[in-house]
Subunit: 363 residues, 2 copies
DNA sequence: TTGAAAGCGTTACCAA
DNA sequence: TTGGTAACGCTTTCAA
């Protein structure tokens, strides 16, 4: 628990507190001494308090600028009872669930919102789900951050339930229908999956479709699978489908595709629950001498960067991670401001992105 | 399991100790009241100070756990005169220079090292280079973070020079040969570029090679270009080469390839200074009906994720961004501990990654 | 072995 | 209109 340095006993020498002029930080007291008024007057002058006269304010600001005064954040946080930073918490397992670029996009959005409020951003990663709570809980309860955005969590994660019940200032990324009191920012995955499925059926006339799902103890793959079935049902055409389960990794997508191609020999299209698995499927399809999209059409989900680079480009559902980050931060600030975020559970829309892997565009 | 919220221990009876307000955080004083000793004794007990007796320590630890005591970071930072967090500063222009995944890898490394020290991590992005200094300087001077890792900077960035001269606890990512007093963690790009170039010449017998460089006011492209020329010179074969300049973006890589293919019609290989530009070149080569690697071999640099996904896979130079993050954090901690990092300017080695784009492996 | 008190930098309240 | 002072939570030194 040593802060940063081993804190050596600084009791060497006989000198009392000898302040090093260049190293020591400039405090309110220094500015007050410079101007010849009290600390509190300086504090209020810098806060533009109406009680302080204009000439005094000018003098204070000039002195502060001259000395290079910057308010000490610890002093301020201690006094205010809350720090001016928020945290983004990322369970490491989340990297495996979402992939790297998702987090980048999210972070860009959160950053934009935090910068606009002059709030600092902490990033906290957890070793795993079981110990996950420790890291973010310390961050919050130590008041290092006054609120947190939790970037990924299993639907069964007990920590999430505890957090929601503890009424901590936390915004969850994802849909948590079973935790109505939790504030969350999710994606309308049911609609997104339905849309892309209907595109395959209705625009390309593909009626024998397999779905590669993620682990079904997470809300996200559940929603995407549900959207897939809804899309088939509402397409107005008779479809046959099959299901394989992966873990969102490219390798698992390849294994799932192997299974599908072996068991459903007349499959016309594969819709994977994320782009990484779709890429794995692409490799497997290729390895069998089949062509995409001529022999088997392919679709993914997420559009975090992988799908643009493959050949052919991957038709997918764009998840607006940056927007989600922005919204999550905005919700968190509402929470911190004491105004209940309305609605508590918000859902952002997706966008269908057509590339080459699903076949020639209808134009 | 410790409850997340401070359990509002309902002392409905006339409790002897003043009951805490339900929302309030648990402080040392609360623990002291619970055990019936003084604040300072609790502080020392938790710090495992030898002057506190074992029974007292046990009682204190039990009470702290029972109440869910977590030290307030502001109080601690104020008292210690330094916060227990470090910052990673990313100029936004850096995203354009490096691309997203680079930053992710770096962050993973920094996080690992920071977690090992129980130090929190702040991420600070800057609107642009000119205002860049403001953000990180405020973070440092406000003592919100006690040190910073600056993730990307132009060789000409005046802020970098100021920082180095101000002797702030800062570690730069990159090579800064003209700032010998700055602590930095760079990549041996000259060696990496030389190695891949010699591979193209010596293993594949390609002697007419073009290089797509990045902007030459950054150290990185300068080094890679130098390595390219060194590789040609030391290959022991007569080579002809040409140069085109991009800005690290895929689009600029495509434009550069266009220029190369127009002017050097017998080009056998293109070596781009990063993978994104190599990918742009791939698109342009394809668009002309040429094949990679049969007609034109291709090589990139960075290996942050793009190169694995392309078809064919891109031969490239792996930059160990995660290692760099770890090392940069370690150097920063040395700086903060007062031990001069040795050497101040460290350089990590690269690794040649052979995929399909450079031609059949010699095996 | 432990308690009391000072002080880190900031802001809010009360007195002048 | 302004200045003094107390208090936020923590650690450390001096006193008992």
């Amino acid at each position: 628990m040593v802060p940063l340095a081993a804190a050596p006993s600084r009791r060497s020498g006989a000198g009392p507190a000898a302040p090093r002029a260049p190293g020591r930080a400039v405090t309110l007291r220094d500015v007050a001494a410079e101007v010849g008024i009290s600390q509190s007057a300086v504090s209020m002058a810098l806060a533009d308090h109406p009680r302080i006269g204009q000439p005094t304010k000018d003098a204070v600001r000039a002195a502060a600028a001259r000395l290079g005064y910057v308010p000490n954040s610890a002093g301020r946080a201690l006094r205010a009872g809350r720090s001016s930073s928020i945290a983004v918490v990322v369970p490491n397992t989340g990297q495996h669930v979402f992939g790297h670029l998702y987090f980048m996009h999210l972070l860009v959005g959160v950053t934009a919102e935090a910068n606009a409020r002059d709030v600092a951003l902490m990033v906290s990663t957890n070793p795993d789900e079981s110990h996950g709570v420790a890291a973010y809980e310390r961050v919050l309860r130590s008041r290092a951050a006054s609120g947190a955005i939790v970037a990924s969590a299993s639907i069964n994660d007990p920590n999430v339930k505890r957090m929601a019940e503890a009424a901590l200032p936390v915004v969850l990324i994802g849909r948590f229908p079973h935790l109505p009191q939790a504030v969350s920012v999710g994606v309308d995955d049911v609609a997104g999956a339905e849309q892309i499925t209907r595109h395959l059926v209705e625009e390309h006339g593909l009626t024998r479709i397999a779905h590669i799902s993620g682990p079904l103890d997470h809300q996200q793959p559940v929603d995407r699978y549900e959207g897939f079935r809804a899309g088939l049902a509402r397409s107005g055409r008779a479809c046959t489908h099959s299901l394989a389960i992966g873990d969102f990794s490219e390798e698992s997508g390849r294994a799932a595709a192997r299974q599908i191609l072996d068991s459903m020999t007349d499959v016309q299209a594969i819709f994977a629950a994320n782009d990484e698995m779709a890429y794995g499927a692409l490799l497997e399809i290729r390895a069998r001498g089949l062509r995409v999209p001529e022999d088997v059409a392919l679709a993914g989900y997420d559009d975090f960067g992988v799908s643009r680079l493959t050949t052919p480009g991957l038709t997918t559902v764009h998840v607006p991670a940056e927007d989600m980050g922005r919204l999550a931060a905005a919700q968190l600030f509402r929470l911190l401001d004491g105004t209940a975020p309305e609605p508590a559970q918000s859902v952002v829309p997706t966008r269908l992105v057509l590339r080459e892997s699903c076949g020639p565009h209808a134009g």
